[in-house]
Symmetry: C2
Subunit: 202 residues, 2 copies
């Protein structure tokens, strides 16, 4: 195929694609806050959540963040947000990974305290975006009741968006979420002996 033919063919297929894209955009008309679940075993769930935080801040939206599990090791996003947005509602369970605490009762108490904070954000219509980082593990470990969590999220203010990250998540969250993304990592630097990298991995 010569170049001119390639260009013509390209134009035709792009015209066809454009009309498909345009009509599906026209079909989507409901304006409401979204619930997004970022799940799967791969790398990029929390970073995607924090990317949405940046996106939201770009529009001057108010953001609230609750991190389950995390909080023992300092992360770049925590340093960043605490420094630039000292008034942003930002709560960390702070007990570290369950394999570090090894204490189920203390974990449950911490999970419930952290969830209480999340519930307040989910009632606050002045918050546009709530990030519930690593929430799914609290359900997987049965530290929190699925029904309580699903109810609070589904009763949130209509224009508020919620982003949930973590492996698994259970059927309740999956049904509730408007968008579910599954991240898998067929290849991970870790496996080739490369150390976790500041600014990329944490």
């Amino acid at each position: 195929m010569n170049d001119e033919k390639k260009n013509r063919k390209h134009k035709q297929s792009m015209q066809a694609l454009k009309s498909r894209v345009d009509s599906s955009i026209a079909a989507a008309q409901t304006e409401k806050g979204l619930c997004v679940l970022l799940s799967g075993d791969g790398k990029g769930k929390s970073t995607s959540g924090f990317g949405m935080v940046m996106r939201s801040l770009g529009y001057g939206h108010r953001v609230g963040i609750v991190q389950f599990i995390k909080g023992e090791q300092l992360s770049g996003e925590e340093i960043y947000l605490r420094e630039k947005y000292p008034d942003m509602p930002f709560y960390q369970m702070g007990t570290g990974f369950t394999w570090d605490t090894q204490d189920r009762q203390a974990d449950i108490v911490a999970a419930e305290r952290t969830w209480a904070y999340a519930e307040e954000l989910l009632k606050n219509a002045s918050i546009d975006l709530v990030l519930l980082d690593e929430l799914t593990y609290m359900l997987a470990f049965k530290y929190l009741e699925e029904e309580q969590v699903v109810n609070a999220i589904s009763r949130r203010p209509a224009q508020q968006s919620v982003v949930i990250t973590g492996r698994g998540g259970g059927t309740g969250l999956r049904e509730l979420a408007d968008t579910v993304s599954e991240i898998s990592s067929p290849k991970h630097a870790y496996e080739s002996g490369i150390k976790a990298r500041k600014g990329v991995d944490f």
Copy 2:
């Protein structure tokens, strides 16, 4: 199983998990910049890239961003970064999606111009993280040569990390990348007629 037994069993399994986690962390010792490819058809690739940008900025790292395709529609992350970091190297191809331009020759010229900017960043050792957003489409459409792209990324300064986003990517980038994440979206708000949301979708 009563509660005490549950707690004991939990402690045992967490101890076992901790020793597995600790030994794999100890095994990963190579310190170098990472190449991460965020691919797949699902939602969250670019936001994950921008999450790494925030992470990196938290450590005071220098970041450079090149957006292929994007740049016609304003996004939250663009507004954010241009306002807060007017000096950050941030280049957008700015021609919009291929199905909007419908002009292969003009797209190729724009892709080459944009790639020239990316190559400069990939030679600049003072830049800690380079985000090449939507780069993969340039290879899929053969607007850029895979060999040229792979060579420039593999010859970058040893401590520089690179994050590439976009569907596909081809074998060259996949082999080069230290970490490959594939994002799929088994459920998407769009399909239930919910409009793309400011601060979440763009």
